[in-house]
C-alpha cells in the first residue's frame, strides 16, 4: 500500500518534471524547427529572476513567478530577433554593407543547435560572473504531506497539478484561438501561410516568446526546490529533449503522452531499484528504443494507426 502510494507520488513527480521541462522546448522545436540547446539556460533565467525578485525586491513568490516568466518571454523575443531570425543584424547589415549578414536559423537543425549552444555558454558564464557560484534559495512553500513512515513535499503535488494546467492552456491556445490557427498554418506550410496574409515573422517571434516564457515558468516553479547555481539548467535539457522527440509531431499531446510514458518508466525503475540514477538510465534507454521503433514518436504512431483505420473504413 505504502509502496503503491510512493510509486504514485514518484510518477506524479517525474511526470511534472518531464512535462514542464519539455513544454517550452516542444513549442519551439515543433513549430519553428529550431533546437534550442539554451533551453536549460532559459529555465535558469526564470529561476534566477524568481529568486532575485523574492530575495532582493521582496515580491511575494507567486508574483515573482509571473514576473520571471514574462521577463524570460521578453528575453526570448530579443534572442529570436537577434539570433534566430537574424532580423536585427540583417537590418544593420542592410544599412551598412547593403546585404543580409545572416540567414534565419529556422529549419536548420544542426546550425541552430550549435548557435544556441554558444548562447548557452554565454548565459551560464554570465550568470556566474554576475551572481557568483550560487545565490540564496527561497524556501519551499506548503510543507509536507506525511503518510506512514514517509513524507512528501506538498509543493511537488502542486507542480504536478500546474503541469496539467500548462498542457491544457497550451492545447487551448494552439487549437482554439485564431493565433493558434495561424501558428499551425505557419508550421505546416510557411509559404502558403504567408501568401494568405499571415505575418509569419511575427508568428515565429511570438512562438519563440511563448516557448521562452514556458521555460521561464518552469524555472520559476522549480526555483524553490533547486539549488541555485549557474549550471542548474543542465538537469532539464536532456529530459526535455527526449520528451519532445519521443512525443512526436503533435506538440501538446506528444508532450503529455511522453511525459506519461517516460515518467512511468522512470518512476517504476526508481521504485524497484531504489536508485534515481537507474531511473534516469531507464528513461534514456526507453527513449532510445522509442526512437528506434517509433521514428515519428508516440503521436506519429497514433496518426499512422488512425490513417490506417481511415483507409480500412474507406475501403468498405
Amino acid at each position: 500500500m505504502v509502496n503503491g502510494l510512493n510509486l504514485a507520488f514518484q510518477f506524479l513527480d517525474s511526470f511534472a518534471f518531464v512535462v514542464l521541462a519539455a513544454a517550452g522546448l516542444a513549442v519551439i522545436f515543433g513549430i519553428m524547427g529550431v533546437i534550442n540547446l539554451a533551453h536549460g539556460e532559459f529555465i535558469l533565467f526564470g529561476a534566477y529572476a524568481t529568486t532575485k525578485s523574492v530575495t532582493d525586491l521582496g515580491l511575494p513568490l507567486p508574483a515573482a513567478m509571473v514576473v520571471a516568466s514574462l521577463l524570460t518571454a521578453g528575453f526570448g523575443v530579443v534572442v529570436e530577433r537577434t539570433i534566430i531570425s537574424g532580423f536585427v543584424p540583417n537590418w544593420i547589415g542592410q544599412r551598412t554593407v547593403g546585404r543580409d549578414l545572416i540567414e534565419p536559423l529556422y529549419d536548420r537543425l544542426a546550425d541552430s543547435m550549435v548557435a544556441t549552444f554558444g548562447l548557452s555558454l554565454v548565459m551560464v558564464q554570465s550568470a556566474r560572473i554576475l551572481f557568483g557560484n550560487s545565490i540564496d534559495t527561497v524556501g519551499t512553500p506548503f510543507g509536507n504531506v506525511a503518510y506512514g513512515a514517509f513524507s512528501y513535499s506538498t509543493y511537488r503535488l502542486v507542480l504536478a497539478g500546474i503541469s496539467i494546467l500548462v498542457l491544457v492552456a497550451a492545447y487551448y491556445l494552439f487549437t482554439r484561438t485564431t493565433f493558434g490557427t495561424r501558428v499551425r498554418a505557419t508550421m505546416q506550410d510557411e509559404q502558403t501561410a504567408k501568401a494568405l496574409g499571415i505575418d509569419t515573422e511575427r508568428t515565429y517571434m511570438l512562438t519563440f516568446g511563448i516557448g521562452s516564457g514556458l521555460a521561464g515558468l518552469t524555472g520559476a516553479l522549480f526555483a524553490p526546490v533547486l539549488s541555485m547555481q549557474p549550471t542548474l539548467g543542465d538537469q532539464f535539457l536532456i529530459e526535455a529533449f527526449v520528451a519532445v522527440v519521443v512525443g512526436g509531431p503533435s506538440v501538446v499531446l506528444g508532450t503529455a503522452l511522453s511525459g506519461g510514458v517516460l515518467g512511468a518508466v522512470s518512476a517504476t525503475v526508481t521504485n524497484l531499484t531504489d536508485s534515481t540514477t537507474f531511473g534516469r538510465i531507464a528513461l534514456l534507454v526507453a527513449a532510445i528504443l522509442a526512437l528506434r521503433f517509433l521514428p515519428g514518436g508516440i503521436t506519429g504512431l497514433i496518426e499512422r494507426v488512425r490513417a490506417r483505420r481511415q483507409e480500412a473504413t474507406d475501403g468498405d
Binding site: 539570433i83 544542426a110 549552444f117 554558444g118 554570465s126 540514477t277 514518436g297
Partner: protein, 380 residues
Amino acid sequence: MATEPTGSTGTDGGAVARIRGRLEGPNTVGNSRGFWLGFAVAVLALAAFPVVGSGESFSLFLVLALLGLSLSLVWGYSGVLSFGQVVFFGVGGYTFGVVSINFPDATGITAAALAGVVVGGGAAALLGYFMFYGGVRNVYVTIITLVTTMAMHTFMAQTAGSEWTIGEAPLGGFNGMPGIPLLELGIEGVASFQFVYNEMSLLGLFAFDPFYYLALGLLLVTYLGLRALVNSDFGRVMVAVREDQDRTRMFGYDVKRIKLLTFTLGGALAALSGVLYAARNVYISPPVFALWFATLPVIWVSVGGRKSLLGAVIATIAIEYFRLSVEGEMALVVLGAMLLVFILALPGGIVPWVAGKLSGSAVPVSELDDADAPAEVSES
C-alpha cells in the same frame, strides 16, 4: 588534374604525381602545389614546435584533432550528424584503461590500445546497425546518439562501487579510473618503447616528449588517409549519400551499408583518439561523456567547416588552445560569442571560406551549405 610533379622533391616525379592524384579531388580543399608547400611548412613547424613551446601540453590538441576528424568524416562527408563521437572516444579510453591495468606490460598495453580502437569501432557498428538498418534518419540519428551519450554519462558516473571492477581495474564512478599504465608500445622483451613521461633529449640540446611525435604522426597519417578515402570512389558515394540519399539509393547503392561503414570507421577513429587521450592523461573519468564535451566536436567541425578535413583539424587545435589557455572568467563568454558569430555569419566554416577567397571562387559559402536541412522529415 595533378599530373605535374612537385619539383622540390626531385625524385621519381611519376610516383609523386600518383600519390598527389590519390590525395586530391573535389572533396577536399587545397589541391594546388601552393597548398602542399604550405602544408609541408605547417608540418615542419609542428614538428619543431617542442623547441619553443611545451609539446607535452600541446599534444592534447593533436589527440583531440583526431576526434574532430572523426566527426568531420561522419557528419561532413556522409551527412550523419553524430552527437555520440564522445561515446566511442570514451569507450575506447575506458577499454584501453581496463585492459592495460590488467596486463601492464608492453605487449598488454599495445594490445589494450588495439582493443580500445576495436571495441570503440564495434560499439559504433552496433549502434549504427541498430539505427541505420532500423530506418532511423536525419535528426533522429543525432538525437539517439546524444541520448546514448547521456545514458553513458549517467551510467559511468554511478560505477563507484566495488562490484564495478573488471579484473584489476575499478571503474571508479565519478572519480574515474586512475593508474592507467604508461603507454609502452611493442612486444615485451623483444622491442618496446615508452611514449609517455619519457623525456628524451636530442644531442643534449633540448628535451622533447616522444608522445607528441606519436600523436603528430598519427594525426598526419589519419589526415592523409582520410583525404585519400574521401577522394576515392567510396568517398564519392559517401558525398552522394550526404547530398541526396534517396537518389543515391535509386542509383543502386546500398545507402545503409555506406552509412554504417562510415559510422563505424568514424567510431574507430574517435576511439583511437580516446585511447591516446587516456594514455596521455594516464586517467579517464565520466566527464568524457558529458554534454558539454559531446558538443565540442560539433563546434570544432562547424567552425572549421564540416565539409573540410583540414578545417576540422585547424579549428580543433585553435579552439581547444584558446579554450584551455585563456584564463579568467570571460573565456567561455568569448568562446560562446565567437561560436555564435561564426555559425551565423559563416555557416560553411572558416576554412572553406578562406579557400574560396584564395581561389576567387564566386560561389558564396551559404549556397554550398544546405546538407543538414531536413529535406525529408516527411516520413515522421
